[in-house]
Each structure stands twice: as structure tokens, then as C-alpha cells.
């Protein structure tokens, strides 16, 4: 510890040249500025011998960039899914030579302010404002100082020019319904929302769009949802209750769409307790592709939230915006980028008997 870092000045004096010369050589402009091969060689050797690494902080101070991004999310820990999003962001950032500051707000606007300030104080080149479940949200001030992007969230005021990256929930909703129709099902139940267009937990983009996609596709086939079960908490207990009641009322032979995998887990438990089986007696389709989905028996067929891709895409767009160096503000053409939700077929859907 405490061994001081090697600076450019150290390299220069070791090579017997000025700092300027050392800088030119090491930044590859040696030939351009006609430094003799002998000297270049000497500088490079000294640099290697001392293990010189440029101080990025200093460079950043000079040219006003830090090769650093801020990633502010409302929650990292509660959702196991979030990790993938961060991972996608981290990998992409690294690939472009950026490091990421991570911050968590717990949904507290005051804390969010503090984190943003702390990041801006550290001269981040851009900000990713992430949400762990898709929702609309107000924008904090200060985002006009640097390029910014919304991840898994939409701006509450649509007047803003900040781009957003979200999963393509609408298309996934359509596909979920179509999957059941293709398997011959005509009695489709929804757990988590519905049956009406507006029966949706407040503030969730996912709920609204998935429901809309499902209803749209059913309508196109001349059908309506057989039942719906609006719930503000999409937890296993709720899935169990809804399914328990649903089976009592309708009996076997149903197709169920659960709005996330935890609801599906509860549905499985209720189906099992009713001495019925998935998918023989009841078909289940879900959303999210939580790790849980592949542990269930049989595996749960579900539309994955493309967390990794979302994180990647957000950082890509941000880096692009930064690369433009603030010169042309109009680099970002499309304000909302939708990332498709891939289907994981695992065996919880069967052809209607």
C-alpha cells in the first residue's frame, strides 16, 4: 500500500525527455510530430519499465470527460431480474471503455436527487435512469446537463426529448393469447388484471400493454376473456387464490394467462392441490421468465423480460449520444425503443383435448 503511482513526469525524467515528448509518444502522435525513433523507443521502454498508466481523472479534467456513466435505479435487490439488466449495462459500458456508477433510490425522490448530484459532481458523461418494473415516471431536474436515457420507464411528460428503452409488452401480450388460440383453447382466463380494458393495477405499463395485447388478439378471434382477476400485488398467494376460485367455478380444461411468474407459481400450487395437472388439465402461460419458471414442474412457458438486452440497448444509445459530443443534439431520432420479449416454451401449454 501507499506505493505512489507512476506519473507521466516520472516516465519523462526516466527517459530524459520533457513531459510533452513523453505524452506525444505515448499517445501515438510521435511520428506525426516528428519525434525521433530513438527517443520514442526510450520513452516506451521507460514507460513499460515503470509500469506507467495514465491517470484518467487528470485527462478527464483537461478535456471534460470522465469515461464514466451513472446508472440510477429504483431497486436493485428485490428483483432477481434486475441483475441481468445491470449486467447488460455493465458489459456494454465496458465494451465502450466506460465504467458505471450504480445507485439505488428505493423510490425516494430525495435520495434520487442526491445520487444524481453525487454522480454529476463526479462528472459522469451520461445517466441511465432505470426502473425495475416498467412504469411512467417524472423526470428529475439536472438531466439536461448530460445525455440521459430512461430504462424500463417512460417519461411522465411526453414533451421531453429524453429517449426511453422498454420491453415490447404489447407484442408479447398478443403472442401469449395467440399461443393459446393456436393450441385450440377458447376459454382463456387472466390472473393479475382484467377482464375489462381498464382493470389494471395503477402505474404499471406492463399490465396495461399486456392486457391490451391479449384482448386485442382474442377480439380478432371473436372471443373475450372468460374471466379476469385484478390484483395490485402479483404475488404467489394471489395467484393461488385466483386459480383456486377459478377452478371451483369452471373446472378443468381451462387456459390461464398469469401476468407474471410468481402468480403462475401460485396457480401451479392451486392446480396441484385440486389434484389436477399442468398442462393436461390446465394450460398456463406467463410473463417475465424468472428463474423460478424453469424450476417448476413442468417448466413454465413464459415471455421473458429481456433484461440483459434492455440494459445493453440503453447504454448503447447513451454512448452513441455521448459520442456525438453534444454537437448535434438530434442524434437520437426515435424517442421510444422497444425491445422484443422472447418466448420460452417449456411445457405448460398443451393442445385442448
Amino acid at each position: 500500500m501507499g506505493r505512489k503511482r507512476v506519473t507521466l513526469a516520472d516516465v519523462a525524467s526516466a527517459a530524459g525527455v520533457s513531459g510533452t515528448t513523453a505524452s506525444l509518444v505515448l499517445s501515438g502522435r510521435g511520428d506525426e510530430l516528428r519525434i525521433s525513433p530513438t527517443v520514442q523507443q526510450r520513452v516506451r521502454e521507460a514507460s513499460a519499465a515503470l509500469g506507467y498508466r495514465p491517470n484518467i481523472v487528470s485527462i478527464g479534467l483537461r478535456n471534460g470527460s470522465s469515461r464514466t456513466l451513472g446508472f440510477v435505479s429504483d431497486t436493485v435487490a428485490t428483483s432477481q431480474l434486475a441483475g441481468d439488466m445491470i449486467k447488460g449495462a455493465l458489459e456494454t459500458a465496458r465494451a465502450h471503455g466506460f465504467m458505471l456508477f450504480i445507485g439505488e433510490t428505493e423510490g425516494d425522490p430525495e435520495l434520487e436527487r442526491q445520487l444524481l448530484d453525487a454522480m454529476l459532481d463526479r462528472q459522469v458523461d451520461g445517466i441511465v435512469l432505470a426502473s425495475m418494473f416498467t412504469r411512467t415516471r417524472p423526470l428529475p431536474s439536472g438531466l439536461d446537463q448530460v445525455p440521459a436515457i430512461l430504462l424500463n420507464a417512460l417519461p411522465e411528460q411526453r414533451t421531453t426529448s429524453i429517449p426511453a428503452v422498454i420491453p415490447d409488452e404489447l407484442t408479447a401480450g398478443r403472442a401469449a393469447a395467440q399461443l393459446l388460440l393456436d393450441a385450440g383453447h377458447r376459454s382463456v382466463h387472466l390472473v393479475g388484471a382484467g377482464p375489462g380494458e381498464h382493470d389494471v393495477p395503477p402505474g404499471t405499463v406492463a399490465g396495461v400493454e399486456r392486457l391490451a395485447g391479449i384482448r386485442e388478439t382474442l377480439h380478432a378471434a371473436g372471443l373475450e376473456l372468460a374471466s379476469g382477476h385484478l390484483a395490485s400485488e402479483w404475488e404467489p398467494r394471489v395467484g393461488w387464490e385466483a386459480t383456486h376460485r377459478l377452478l371451483e367455478e369452471w373446472g378443468p380444461g381451462q387456459a390461464i394467462i398469469t401476468l407474471n411468474d410468481r402468480l403462475a407459481f401460485g396457480a401451479y400450487q392451486a392446480i396441484q392441490e385440486a389434484r389436477l395437472t399442468v398442462p393436461g388439465d390446465v394450460s398456463v402461460v406467463s410473463f417475465d421468465d424468472a428463474p423460478l419458471a424453469q424450476w417448476l414442474r413442468p417448466g413454465l412457458t413464459t415471455f421473458a423480460i429481456p433484461h440483459h438486452d434492455l440494459g445493453r440497448r440503453a447504454v448503447e444509445l447513451l454512448v452513441e449520444q455521448i459520442g456525438a459530443d453534444g454537437a448535434t443534439t438530434g442524434t437520437s431520432s426515435e424517442p421510444v425503443h422497444r425491445v422484443s420479449m422472447p418466448l420460452r416454451e417449456r411445457g405448460s401449454v398443451a393442445q385442448r383435448r
Copy 2:
């Protein structure tokens, strides 16, 4: 975008004073250096009016600190548990005025090198080297440049002076066995390792210590493990297989310790398929306290990995080391810090009939 940041010079010229004066006033040394109240007032007003915020990068360049820590882990995403560890680290860092760079190595030493370099290049004040499951690991070079700490990992060479923070697995192992003994059980089975002292998946500290604690406590009661099931992958499928076979051989009335919650999940499935119940026919105790554990019916009794506390403790120790400012190296007395694993009693253990 692109509205340039307000600098100290801006404040100074707005207040009609020198940069020196502005700096002194804003850093609270105004009285000490006899700046008149009038001028102090003017500076403060100018600062507030312009919304001045000091550039931490610049300050860092001057005094050689960045108020920034690096957090390098092998994996963030795969384990939902990891999030809590990072969260604990983030919160604690913030509380001490630090921001965190997060990096993920995927277990690749080359990538780890690059990440460490990228962080050191950005002048981090300290490094947390984290592992998502407890293990021994070699130390990369360069950790002698700044204070560092191992999180959920132990140094392979015990000669090092780098402190480590790990869960107290041994004590938890003892407590798990004791819990079953107290419930009157005498036939205790282990899934994931055992029955012998050395029947442990290679490289896992958790496996070794949990097994040792379990065996030790059973021995003290004059017992041995009734059976063990060594497995290198602690996944639901394995738990199902082991439990399925175990029930065929031993019948109901057993007590099972699974070495993690995914194994327990598989055990539940096997027990359910054998038309037996938890905890009436079989008691189950586990480790980790994954989210899954509270979703199971009945809830799983398990010893929680204290991820949040681990993250917190690691950063606390690191900040302490940094606070000492490299002056006295011997601030860290104890090299290995053990964090206790709390029991979550949920109802998967019953008194022996």
C-alpha cells in the same frame, strides 16, 4: 444539454472576489482567514444563485482522493441473492460519501485484471473484491496500491494482510443440526454433501463449514448423519432425486437438511409426489433464505446468508482503512470477519411424532 457547469471561478467573478476567497468562504474557512462577513455573504449568495457545485474530480486530483470505491464481483446477475450484497455495499458507501464502481468478471482473471486497472486508472480509493458464493480465491496483483477487502471470499495465500468478510457458516451448520435435535429428531439426512467429512463439492467454503458444523453437533449428541448425498450442483433436480431415493429407502418420519434452498425446493416436490407432507411426515431445514423460501407452502425454515450485512460490513471496514489515510497500515486487526447467519423459522420443521 451542454449548459456548461458553474465553476468556482464563475462564482468568484460574480461575487467580485478572487477564486481563493470564494474557495475559503465555501469551505467554511472564511472566519478563520478573516474574510469579512459582507464578502462572505456575497460569495454565498453568488454561489446559491448560480447553483454552484464543486467539481469532485478536480478536488480529487489535487488531494489524491476520489471519494469512489471499486466493487468487483465474479457474478451479479445469476444469483438473486447478490443484489442484497451490492445493496448493502451501496448504502454504506453512500452513507460515507462514496460512490461505487461496479464490475463483473464472470470468473475470468483477464477480465478481472482489466476491471481493476480501469478502476485504479480512475483513482478509486479502495477495492472490494466480492464473490457470489463463499470460496477461496487467488489475489490479483495491484491490490497493494490501494486498500482492499475480500467479500464472501478468503485469500488462497494466507500470508496476505487483506482482510476478509464471510458468513459464519460453521455456527449456522451447528444451529441447523441443533434445531432438529431439539425437535426430537434422531434420523438426520443431508442433501448436497456428506455423509463423510470430506464429501464436499470442491472449492466451496460453505459446503465444508456447514457440513462440519452439522457433524460436530450430531457427534456431541452421540449421533451420525443417517445419510448424505454429495452433489456438485445444488439445483432443484438434485434435491428431487436425492429426496425421492431417500424416501423410498427410509420412509416418512425423517429430518432433512438441504444445503441450499433450491435443493429444498426439489425436496418439497419429491415429498409432495410421494403423497407426504412437510413438516408432518418430513422436516426440512435449509440454508440461504432465497426469495423462494417464503413462497413455498409451508414456508421453508432456513438460515439466511446475510448478504446485506456482508456488503455493509465490507464497505465499513474498507472506509475505516481509507480514513486512516494509509498512515498506519495496522488499522485492520482481525483479518477474517464472520457475519452471523440468522434463522428464518417458517414452519418446515415439526416435533418428531
